[in-house]
Structure formats: C-alpha cells, structure tokens
Amino acid sequence: MSQVDRYNDTEIIVFRVGEVIVGLPINEVREIFKPPEFTPVHTRYDYVKGVINLRGNIVTIIDLNWRMGLSEPTLGGHIVLVEFRHELIGLLVDKIEDSVFGRSENFFQVPGNINGADADFFKAIYRRDDDLVAMLDLENTMISEHTQ
C-alpha cells in the first residue's frame, strides 16, 4: 500500500471507535453533532443504523463499530458527517478526541490489523505524539462487497 503519500499536510479530526483511534482529514468532515433520534431502517447492511432528518435531508447513519466488526457496542457519542460521492453520510462514532495537524511525513503504511479492525478500512497510519491514528478510507468503508 503506497497510498501513504496521498496525504499532504492536513488537519485531522481524531475520534474513537471502540479501541481504535480513527482520523479523517478535516476537509472530508462536513459536520460533527450529537446523534438525534434515528429512524431505524432495514437494509441488507446491519451496520446501517438508521436514517435521520438533517435539515430536511435524509442522511444514512453508519455504525462504524459494526462496520469494522468490532465487538464492543457503540456508545454512539457523536456523528461525523462526511460527504461521499455527493451524498451526506453520518458515521456514528464513540467519542470525538481531538483535532491535530498532521504533517505528510508522519503518515505510514497500515499494518495488517488495527485493534481488531481490518486494515482495509484505513488508508494510512498517522503517528501522533505517542500513539497511532488510523486514517479512515471512506471508499472502503462505504462500499462493501454488497454495495458494489
């Protein structure tokens, strides 16, 4: 995986999904908010938690914990709203941690497994002061073998 070099210097929003520390470049994050009441939906994907009404738009909420197959239940502390292929999608995460400025030289290749989550969900690893932030690969998160 040599996608590491894709990251330039960027601000990173860091959040927690179970035991995994996940990051997204700030330009991929549209909004962060507390989860409102969901309307449960029933799709082929059990990680689709439901839909919400976000100012008149229907937004699909994805439970990242489920998506990554982590065992712990999601606390569902926050929703990170991202835009993917012209669609707003909410990522349910446990906790928003931080925002850090990442320099491009601090991005590294993803190891095989990150605290139980498959490496495919990540594009790179960012080395924060003393821990690692897994940079979320939206493409692989949104598209599972079924959606294709």
Binding site: T39, V41, T43, N53, G56
Partner: protein, 956 residues
C-alpha cells in the same frame, strides 16, 4: 403546416432528441458487452422503434426506413442471432448519427440519401452468419458479399441553415462543417469500410453534446402564465409580512399572536406550494391532441373506420409526467387502431357496427390521474397470449394453468410480446407494452388492462399528479412509521377480532386474506424487515416487546388443539376486545394485489419524497423517505419491491391450490364446535357461531314458572332450556353441582340459554357429520371426536320441543327480552289458566297467575311490575267485577289496563264490567283477541309512583 402539426412535430423532435441522447453510449456499451444484455439492446431498439413510428406518421419516409433497417439489425442481436461486432456497432452508430441529424432537420430529411446505410444494414442482415462467425472480420464479409459498401454520409447537415426556425440556434448540428468527410456518396470498397465506419463513429463526439444540450434546453424551461407568476409574487409578499409578524410575536412572547402567525404561515405555505406546483402542471391536451391525426391517418392506411372520442383534455399533470406519457400513449393508441379494432367487414360479420369506437379519457380519481384507452374491437384472446407466452418462454404452461384469463392478458406487459400476427409498419415486434410499462413506472404510474374477447379492451393508466409530492397513507408497524403511496393502495380493510378466524388463514406456511371471495397473500412486514415487535398495552399505553403470538396464529393453534383453552369465556372476551382488531392495507404492485398487515392506520398525507442514500440501492422495498410533521423520518414502501422481498408472487402461483385448501378450512369453519357435557358419557355439540356467550349461574337462582325454567339476568329474564327431557333421557340432576353453564344463543331478537352441567372443549371438526344415525328432533346429527360420539344439537328443534310457540315468537322477535311486560292473569279454571297464560307468554309477556279475585289483589300488591290485568268474571271468593272495583278504587290504579274474560257473553254482563272499570271485554276462547289486547294495552308502568296496598273490603 398548421399550428397543431407544428406543436406535435416539435413534441416528436423533442422526444426523439431525448431518446437519441443516450443511444451512442448504449451502442458502445453493446460493443463492450460479453454476454447479451437484452435490456440494453431493447433500449436502443425501443428508441429507434419510437422514432420509426413518429417518422411514419409525419411521412418522413427516409427517416422511417433508416430506423426500420436499424431495428432489423437490433432485432437479430436481441434474439441472439447476431453477435455485436465492432463493424456492426460502427454501422449502427453511423446510422444513429444520421437519424439524429435527420431529426434535427426534419424538413430536409426526405432529401437525404440513406441508401448507403440501408445497404450496409442489408448486408449485415444477409451476411449475418459470416459476420457473426468471423467476429467482424471485414475481409470475410467482403469476400462473401463481393460487393462495395457505401459509407454513411451526413449530407443533410449541410442544409441546416434553412427553414428550421423552430429549432433554437444552439441546437443546430455543428458537426457538419469541418469534421465530416466531405465526400457525399463516396464509394469505398469493403476493405475500407471498417476504418471509415469507425471514423464516422467517432465523429459524433462532436455532434452529440449538441443533441444532449437540446434535450436539456427543452427540459429546463417552462412556459408560465403571467397571472400565475403574479400570484406567486403576491404570496411571497404575504409570506414576508407574516414572517415579520412571526418574528415580532416570538420576540414579545405573545402566545396568541404567535399562534395566529403560525396559522397564517401554514396557510400561505400550502397556497405557495400549490401555486409553485401548478407552474409545473400542463394540460394533457398536449399529448392527446396528436391522437386525432394519428388515428385518422392510421385508420385510413389500414382501411378501418374509426370514431375517436377524446375527453378530459383539461386534466393537468406534472410536465415530467406529460413528457413520459408521450411514448406509452402513442403505443396504446396505435395498438388499439392496429390490433384492437377490426376491419369493417370483420366487424359486420361479428354483428358489430362497422365503425369502430376508440375512446381516450383522462380523469381524476382519488388523487391520481387515470387515463383510459378503450376500444370496442376484437379484444385479446387469452389463449393466443398464453401460447405466445409459453413460446417466448415468458412463463411455463403450468404457470398459465394457474392464471385467470385477465392475468394471462396482463402478460402482454412482459417484454417481447406482440399481438399482431405479422410485424407491420405501424406497430409490432412486441415492444409496445414494454415501453408502456417501463415509462410509466419511471414516473410512478401503473398500467392495467382488461379485455373481453370480441367485446374490446380497456387499458387503464394510473398516474400521480406530480412527482415531488405524492399522496400517501401513513401506517404504523410496531413502533415504526411507513408511507404507502396512494397510487398503490387499493383499499384498507379492518378485520374485527371475531372475523379474524374466517378472514385470515394460514395455508401451507403462507398467510392469506380472504377478501370478497378473493384470496390475497398477506404480508407481515415486521417479519420481513426484522422490525422488533412491540405490544402496546391497551390500558396503560406502554409498549413492551411483543410476547404474544400473532392473533390469527394463536387462533389457529387453538383450533388445532395445540393451545388449551381452559375457560371458554376467555375466547368470547378476546373476540370482543377491540384492541386485537387487525388492519390490513391492500396494495397493488402492478397487476398483483396483496395485503400488508399494519398495526396502526395513521392519516393519509401528501408527502414530499426525499431520496435515500447508496446503502438503500438494493433495498428496493423502499422508494424513498419522507419527513413527517414531527420531524421524524418515514420510509416510503415500494409495493413492487415489497412483493419481491417477500416472494409474495410465489404464493400467488399456487393461489388456486390455496383456494381449494382454504375452501376446505372454511367449510370446516362451520364445524367449529362447542362441546358440552351432560354426563360422563353424554356429550353434545353446538356450532360455535351460534353461541353468543357462555354464562355461569347458580342452580338456586333458576326459577321455574309455568313449567319453564328461566333466570333473571341483566335486568331481564333469560329463558332456559335443559337437555334433560328434551333430547336427553337422563333424569334432571341438580344436586351434584351448585352451578351450571348457560350457553346463550341469540334467537331472533331474544336470547335463550341452554343449561349444561359442563363445557368440555372447542373443537375444529373437519370431517363429515353423520346426519342419519342419531338424527331426531333437536339433534341434527352426530360426529366422533377422540373416539367419543358427540351429538350435534339442533337448537331450533330443541326449542320447538320445549314450546313451538315460543320459538316462533322469539324468532319473530316481536318483543324485546328486556322489555318483557308482566301481566296478571286472574282465572279460576286451571284449564283456561294454562291456555291463556301460554298464549300470552308466547306473545312475549311474563304472566303471573292468580286463582281468584282475592289472590289477584294479593299478587297485584306483591308485584308492582304488573302492568296489565286479565281477569275472569266468574270466580270463587271474589269475582272479577268486585276485584276490578276494588282495584279501581285506588287512584294510582285507575290507568292500569284491565280486560275481562268471560265464557258467557251478554249485554248485561258487559255493561256490569264496563261500569266496574274494565277497559275491554273478551270471550275466553277468543285467544287471539286476548293477546291482541295485551299487546295493545300493556305498557310499562311509570316508575317512581308508589303503589298503595289494596285492602280488600275497604270499599264496602
């Protein structure tokens, strides 16, 4: 050209451009496909087919011929007889360019030389085996054909400058000037064909954006009447004012003015919405108007005599829907003219008027627009359709056997069908109905057909008024809300708990709803979608996870004996519990109907459709979502998708079998029996449907009056019938138990209770009932359950044994149970006592009997409910005259009706009677007169008047 033609022509141009916009991509995709993608080829085919049809109508023979030639090639590809090679695709692309050019420049299209194209396509058709086999090697082709091929030429585009004012500047093909080979009718050898064809195939890259742009230009502007714009401005102004008021009242926290402002916002918003929507509305006349000409021309061409009636032209629809309607309607009208209506000679032979009748009608119905195209033609022969369907492998013969005639006819909506025996110029090849269905589905419409062989056909299109907002029914399933578009809703059915058993049945694992003789698959969405079922406590309103089985499931189990019912009263109670009523929304998905069981029916509302995200891409049970008044999201159910999800059509395939099974179940429903015990060995059964309820009484409360058992009950008297002495030889045995059950039956307007010592069971008896062995009065037959013989009671027979008169009046129901009046009969002769008492009782009264005048007064004192007295005159101790005088001495008894009976008629006696205060005088044996008087005179005594005790002898 007159104005009408101009408009229709423009419509054709617009439509064709729209179709052609995508053809290039589709053709290229065809080249790339490794396996035959029928849908894709069909799409291209349909495009050309539509253009061919339109061109034929406008007499654009060149365009028509070219499109037809291309169609032929595509038909071979579609049927797998021709493999798409780069050569073929190149030729098709070149052809499509020419078609596009001709469409953009219709006036000169007939001057165009298309012979080159035609020859290429002809060669493809003729040499197909070679081309197919050699995967497009031009050499093989040329050797086989040894013929020179013409290169497609775009000559017409040079003429685009003249006579095309109606085409906007920017849509004129620009590709002609530079990048086209400047070689009209250039003759090239076959060896050269391939590169040139490819070159001309790549050329449209320059040409295509123009056509695309054109379509967009046509799409993106709309004519709006000035008054409507003024109205919009006005509303916007009002909205601004109201906003100011709203802001002000929020600031001042003035509740009253806030409420008023809110109301105003509400009203303005809906007006604004309506006005904005109406800017998108166009009258359907735009589409309808072209049919007069089409029908006239076609009928002339075909030698048919057709009278066309068009109505409802003023009906308005969303622009987008109107646009989508063009194709399907044209096809339907063509079909009707070409295949539906017969030639005059045939019509005459069939005994119809020579003039065929075609009717196109549009009207509003339940928030939708319905368009009907009906003809009085030959109709559709289901047998022909069936044969064709089997031949085309659309379905198997077994499928056909299960379908009704009309369902078979509906198969014509499947792709690959034609009703014409030969492919004609006007319609055919079986794309028609496919186009209809697909185009309608795109705008949320549905099509249905009804046809009677020899009488004619009617095609019904149902369309939503607009696309953005659809009227829907909101339903609740468990704790979730869903919207079902009204266009899909056929009806809503509420099934009372008592009916559940009969209406909802489980057959072979599937649940079906019985609706007016039809069997519909019933879908429980919570099962299919995995909705957690909740149970709403009817009292507290609290919700909890549903533990109880589905109502009908439980019933079924109970009937199968898998659940033990300890106390039959619970069954009765449950049946009356309104909370367990079942709501069903019957929806139509295309031509297929099924029921969706819902927990709650909410309001019907106009909902705004919002798209769902990518994760719903293959959840086709939902078409979108909407935001409800409370801000929550409700998903919109797609009737077709839900059907697919639940595989309800498979249920339907065996519907007829189901019907048989269910018919049996239903038959046996009449054998839902309540089994009662009269003794350890003696059991009787009564049909459960006759049982109103089951009560429990103490023997001590039972009264026996005049040889009849009764019990006071709910403020009235419940007559009781016992098995002993009627159908059972057993001696009455009261002592054993203190209590007994009364199985209460409704008889006429009244009720009768059957005394039974014990209730054994409720059984669902499916086997035949032996009507011979045990049959006698009161017993209609016998059956065997668990090895024991059970006699089936004939309730009416039983009542007749007790008292033939009684049944009669109960059934006639002349007097209500609760309103039974009490009559005091004073008569010394026991014979007459019984005679008259029976008669009066059978007329619905309660009778108290006294042996003489003194006893009569005593009874009157003891029974204030007595509302009438029937008295004999000649009696011991105190005669009738004396008794009447004594009674009448009290003012409170002045109004009490008293009739006198005597065996001696005479003027003198009568006079004495009337003097004493008798109201009427009758002869004892005239019992009918007596009863008639009772019915006429007896009425409830007013309550609250204290009746004094009558003291005998006071008067004298």
């Amino acid at each position: 050209m007159d104005e009408l033609d101009e408009e229709v022509l423009q419509l054709f141009v617009d439509e064709s451009r729209e179709h052609l916009a995508g053809i290039e991509g589709d053709l290229l995709a065809m080249e790339a496909m490794t396996v035959l993608d029928k849908e894709l080829v069909n799409k291209v085919f349909r495009t050309l087919h539509t253009i061919k049809g339109g061109a034929g109508f406008f007499d654009l023979s060149k365009l028509q011929n070219l499109a037809h030639a291309m169609e032929n090639v595509l038909d071979l590809i579609r049927n797998g007889e021709l493999v798409t090679t780069p050569l073929i695709v190149s030729s098709l692309l070149a052809g499509a360019d020419t078609v596009a050019g001709m469409v953009n420049n219709l006036t000169t299209s007939n001057d165009q030389d298309i012979s080159a194209h035609l020859q290429v396509f002809e060669q493809i058709l003729e040499g197909d085996s070679h081309i197919a086999a050699s995967t497009g090697e031009v050499e093989t082709n040329s050797q086989a054909g040894a013929r020179e091929l013409f290169v497609p030429v775009e000559r017409q585009v040079e003429d685009d400058g003249r006579d095309n004012e109606h085409i906007p500047e920017e849509v004129r093909p620009t590709g002609s000037e530079g990048d086209l080979p400047e070689a009209p009718a250039a003759v090239m050898s076959a060896e050269q064909l391939s590169p040139v064809a490819q070159a001309s195939a790549s050329k449209p890259d320059g040409n295509k954006p123009d056509t695309g742009k054109t379509a967009q230009v046509a799409d993106q502007s709309i004519r709006v009447q000035l008054p409507l714009l003024d109205r919009l401005m006005e509303l916007a102004g009002e909205l601004v004012l109201t906003r100011n008021a709203l802001l002000q009242s929020v600031e001042s926290k003035d509740g009253a003015s806030l409420a008023m402002a809110a109301k105003k916002v509400d009203s303005i918003t809906s007006q604004l919405q309506k006005a904005i929507m109406s800017t998108r509305m166009q009258s359907i006349d735009i589409v309808f108007s072209k049919f007069r000409r089409i029908v006239r021309d076609l009928s002339g061409q075909l030698g048919k005599d057709i009278r066309l009636e068009i109505s409802g032209e003023e009906v308005e629809l969303d622009k987008k829907i109107i646009e989508a309607l063009g194709d399907p309607l044209t096809h339907l009208v063509r079909n009707a003219v070409d295949h539906g209506l017969e030639k005059p000679a045939i019509r005459r032979a069939a005994g119809k008027s020579e003039e065929g009748f075609l009717r196109i009608d549009a009207f509003h119905e339940a928030g939708q627009v319905v368009i009907e195209i009906s003809d009085d033609g030959a109709g559709i022969n289901p047998a022909v359709i069936a044969a064709k369907a089997v031949e085309k492998q659309i379905c198997t013969e077994e499928d056909i056997a299960r379908l009704t005639d009309n369902d078979i006819i509906r198969l014509i909506f499947q792709p690959g069908f034609t009703t014409a025996a030969e492919v004609t110029d006007i319609s055919g090849r079986g794309v028609g109905m496919d186009v209809v269905r697909q185009n309608l589905a795109k705008v949320g419409g549905v099509a249905d057909i009804e046809s009677v062989l020899g009488k004619g056909s009617t095609v019904r299109l149902k369309l939503p008024l607009t696309l953005a907002i659809i009227p829907s029914v909101l339903v609740g399933i468990s704790s979730e809300s869903f919207a079902i578009p009204q266009v899909n809703v056929v009806e809503m059915v509420g099934i009372t708990p008592a009916e559940v058993k009969n209406r909802i049945q489980r057959v072979g694992g599937a649940t079906v709803l019985r609706l007016r003789g039809e069997l519909l698959p019933l879908i429980d969405l919570s099962q299919h979608l995995g909705i957690e079922e909740v149970y709403v406590d009817p009292v507290s309103g609290e919700t909890a996870a549903e533990r109880r089985d589905r109502l009908f499931d439980r019933r079924m189990l109970a009937e199968e004996g898998e659940i033990e019912i300890e106390d039959p009263r619970h069954v009765a109670e449950r049946r009356q519990n309104h909370q367990s009523a079942v709501h069903i929304v019957v929806v139509a998905a295309g031509v297929f109907k099924y029921g969706i069981r819902v927990d709650e029916l909410h309001e019907s509302a106009e909902i705004v459709v919002k798209p769902l995200g990518m994760h719903f891409k293959d959840s086709d049970e939902f078409t979108g979502a909407t935001i409800l008044g409370d801000g929550k999201v409700a998903l919109i159910l797609n009737a077709e998708g839900v059907r697919r999800l639940t595989g309800a059509n498979e249920t339907r395939q065996s519907l007829e079998e189901l019907d048989k099974v269910v018919a049996k179940v239903v038959e046996s429903d009449s054998c839902m029996l309540l089994v009662v015990k009269n003794g350890p060995e003696e059991m009787y059964a009564v049909p459960l449907q006759l049982v109103a309820r089951i009560e429990r009484f103490a023997y001590s409360d039972m009264q026996e009056v005049g040889g009849k058992k009764a019990i006071s009950y709910r403020g009235g008297i419940l007559p009781l019938v016992s098995l002993e002495g009627t159908v059972s030889d057993k001696a009455p045995q009261k002592s054993a138990a203190k209590e007994f059950y009364a199985v209460v039956f409704a008889v006429g307007k009244g009720e009768v209770g059957l005394i039974v010592p014990g209730i054994k069971d409720i059984v669902n008896y499916t086997k035949a009932i032996d009507v011979n062995t045990h049959r006698r009065k009161g017993i209609s037959g016998s059956l065997i359950v668990d090895g024991a013989i059970i006699q089936l009671l004939d309730l009416f027979g039983l009542l007749e044994i007790v008292d033939p008169q009684w049944t009669g009046h109960l059934i006639r129901g002349e007097i209500d149970e609760e309103d039974r009046l009490t009559i005091l009969l004073v008569e010394d002769s026991q014979f007459f006592q019984k005679q008259i008492a029976d008669e009066i009782v059978s007329a619905g009264f309660t009778v108290i009997i006294a042996g003489d005048g003194l006893q009569g007064i005593e009874q009157l004192n003891n029974n204030p409910q007595v509302c009438m007295v029937v008295a004999d005159i000649e009696m011991p101790n105190m005669d009738g005259i004396e008794m009447v005088k004594t009674i009448r001495a009290h003012a409170e008894y002045r109004s009490l009706p008293i009739i006198a009976l005597t065996s001696v008629a005479g003027a003198e006696a009568e006079k004495r009677g009337y003097e004493a205060g008798v109201n009427e005088y009758h002869i004892k044996l005239d019992r009918e007169q007596v009863v008639a008087s009772c019915v006429r005179l007896a009425s409830k005594r007013p309550k609250g008047i204290a009746l004094p005790q009558i003291v005998v002898g006071e008067r004298s």
